[in-house]
Symmetry: C2
Subunit: 346 residues, 2 copies
Amino acid sequence: MSRMLEEIRQQPERLERTLRNELKRVERFKRIIGKRRPALVVLVARGTSDNAALFGRYLLEITTRIPVSLAAPSIYTLYNTRVNFHEALVVAISQSGESTDTNLILQEARQQGALTVGITNEASSSLARLAQQVFLVHAGKEKSVAATKTYTGQVLILYLLAYALGARIRPDDLARLPDRAALALRLEPEIAALSERFRFMDHCVVMGRGLNYANAFEFALKLMETCYVVAERFSSADFLHGPIALVEPSFPVFVFAPSGVTWTPVREAIQKLKSLKAETVVITDSSNMPAAEIGTRVIRLPQRLPELYTPIPYIIPAQILAAYLAAQKGLNPDLPRTLTKVTLTL
Amino acid sequence: MSRMLEEIRQQPERLERTLRNELKRVERFKRIIGKRRPALVVLVARGTSDNAALFGRYLLEITTRIPVSLAAPSIYTLYNTRVNFHEALVVAISQSGESTDTNLILQEARQQGALTVGITNEASSSLARLAQQVFLVHAGKEKSVAATKTYTGQVLILYLLAYALGARIRPDDLARLPDRAALALRLEPEIAALSERFRFMDHCVVMGRGLNYANAFEFALKLMETCYVVAERFSSADFLHGPIALVEPSFPVFVFAPSGVTWTPVREAIQKLKSLKAETVVITDSSNMPAAEIGTRVIRLPQRLPELYTPIPYIIPAQILAAYLAAQKGLNPDLPRTLTKVTLTL
């Protein structure tokens, strides 16, 4: 078994551990930040952590109404610009806590007197030392180069951050996420069988919307890293604004399709794809039966999920599919060619 | 000749016209905004206009130090969230001025009392009526579905906006852009010949960094829309954080490579690609001779450009390449399958 698959399976237990260990710290932070609500949140990250940040962008704006900006590292590291952080809460996310560019921006924010938060899997990392407030992802050592359990751990911490910033998110609801992740894991045999279908797929599109937009990026990244599939990622709206011209019969499109506010436009996009005879693989749950009817293939979680809490359970079948597809293609998902675990960039 | 190519060729004259007609309005706006400097700029757009917005994000942060957020429309249109715009300058960009989602966000911003700016090619559009301050792209009617002259027009207006917000950009320097665009157009015969090489290319990566990151998105969009090439777009740093695993011998990567602060990391990425035997097509100018030495193929503008003013001249050879490649593939770039000129999304 690959380490990637092993780590995918650890997720329910690691999510539970993260929640148990960090909740008190979050409650304390909630009391501090309540008196100093930021005018802006800046999220700083790279790679998979940047996909978690993209989720955080939607979650924080939707649940707290505070505007969010995803930092563009080169503005600091190459152009040496000191963007004005005076009114901002600056949140850096890094599995290793050793991303030089991410840490440099956090340092700049501290110097300007902004409040800084670090989210990392490594308690003794540079990031953990630099940030005023640290939240730890208790995922355990991540050995696979392809990140899985740290992504869901970071997403969980972002829910906690939203809670600290006043979002109507109840810690009791978050406490259900480990079980929801466990239910998603039960799909493994079904997905293992499905993976064979894509043995010779060399490109595809992954589509998501709103809170699941980041999952489209994350699934595409896993497909690129571990299966060497050229995987584009779009929101259903951006896709209709041009890239849909790509679609010819059999073109594969993976779609995150929860029930809730994003369903109407996502359904329209799936129907459009259907009329173009594209192959759609729809990831959904029991609360969205229409989705199960219109996909070429459907991955359906055996539970009814409120849209707000779909991102963690929904990425799990996608992670499993990437791990099995890599195996189908004769690749080792733990050792993608050209990559190492910690990437240093400026 | 395709309309797309015809409109590509119009760019020098239309840029000149836009500058001539809007400069006074910008000077007036500069006096107003000087007294009410925003804490945050929010850019709102879709499709090609969103690529111009991505350029604006880098330009405005680098030259004004004001933090910028690229709006995620679904947060407003689907989740009905009223993100707090009190301290923000909200800028909507739309060729037609009739994007329902973009206009809805602008309306929300006005209701909250934020200062609003509209950038559009259509003086009598809904956007032009909604925004308190309107800047017009004088590109003339855009008949090709694939936008070209409105993209460079929007980019020009964003320079003017940065100038109004206090950036050290001189209108005299902007006045040189039409000539610089004209010099870029001289590459047409060379690029027409080069396009044949990519006749059977079905996927690729486009890479840019900093001020040219948006050009990577825009070139990739043209390749998807008009040539049906699955074109991924990355910054050189993000590319090294995972997607580089895709690269096998002959994998095609197009790279925007100006001299200046982004050159060192971009050069490293090109060298890495070279070691993997990828095919690199480097877009650069006479001021960056090393770039001309390390690409498999090089498109070199016959002038020396300061990095700040590369985005408009650099996108022009890419537009030409997309138009000729579509023709090589037997496609009509003016009529991409499935698309219409105005896309309505929520």
